[in-house]
Symmetry: C2
Subunit: 197 residues, 2 copies
Amino acid sequence: MSDKPAADSVDDAAPLPPGAAGTAPVLEDSTAEKSVSEDPSGWATEWAAGLPGRPGFLIRRLHQIHVALFAEECGGFNVTPVQYSIMSAAALQPGLDQNELAVAVGVDRTTLANVAARLEARGLVRRERTPKDRRLKRVFLTPEGQALLESMARPAARAHQRTIEALSGAERQAFLDSLTRLVLAGNAYGRAPLRMG
Amino acid sequence: MSDKPAADSVDDAAPLPPGAAGTAPVLEDSTAEKSVSEDPSGWATEWAAGLPGRPGFLIRRLHQIHVALFAEECGGFNVTPVQYSIMSAAALQPGLDQNELAVAVGVDRTTLANVAARLEARGLVRRERTPKDRRLKRVFLTPEGQALLESMARPAARAHQRTIEALSGAERQAFLDSLTRLVLAGNAYGRAPLRMG
DNA sequence: CACTAAAAGTCAGTATACTGACGATTTGGG
DNA sequence: CCCAAATCGTCAGTATACTGACTTTTAGTG
């Protein structure tokens, strides 16, 4: 990670001509690709026709990039993005049960339980059964967890900001708007929807 | 997955008012969030101030959604998005070694090796050492793998298309442009960069 | 009250993604 | 030629993400 280009040089670069890759972008099923990217304006045809022309591919890549940036900014805390999200939710709404936490964060209940258990093992959260409903486990942040959360606020925010800083202000906003639209539209797919009401 | 809203109703819905959640969006460190979303126009303040206001959070959610859509469209093939990408790359450039494949697809070399090994176990790819460089393993698609790839082309494309279909044509293009810009800008972060040249 | 259905959390299993380290092989420089 | 550095693939380990199934508990209905 120490060999990444300086932020300035990356930001200044016009969209790189990706066709120059020693490993050429992968071409395939151009007919299907055209239906996805009906207007290839602004990017090389080869790029659009290959793997990078697939939305899912780009989304996976950006997610990888974000996770790497988060690790760089928050590495010293040994907290992952999902752990941070779960702790954030637990801090704001102490006592949510695991399932409520899962839908607040958009994480599968199995994943939530696994992450919470590991956070509990680190003394960052506490999980309690309640006499009112013995099926539930309610989650509380410990003082140690709270302190960690607070000390991470800036680095975490920096990671998020760096993920999208290559866009200008208006583009950034438009991008986030679209991203939000897509997330809202597809929210019910999969096993980890966000609660909408 | 059978309880997802009809595509029409989701598409027609104006951006949902997310503040209505029984589990309220999580609020935190508003000062840092403001620096990320400097212009909150078009989305509720509560949404912007909470977890969904974090770019990385939305990116994770959209990735989850995409993977779920891919599973829905391609479930019958028992092929994941990453497997499909690797097979696509191997089909277009037969004989790339594993590392070349990893940088063509943007996958960590360890992940690539693991996925390739499982694909090989299924008879979909063949991995060969070469006398020219005994460190390498070159990857070839088998006839069975080729056939599977071809039969998956349309469903796979549909999954990608559905991931972004909530946006209009121009918005979609702008979104993909921005996504590409961000991927290119952050490409070197992490251990799985795409080869640029 | 009795019974069915639903919910919560857990379990075992599979897949992707990353980390640092390692042995074998190749490359590059003196 | 020799040796150090680099590269490739693998290894063991950790984390997230999902699947279907299961036991316990609660909710709902007749």
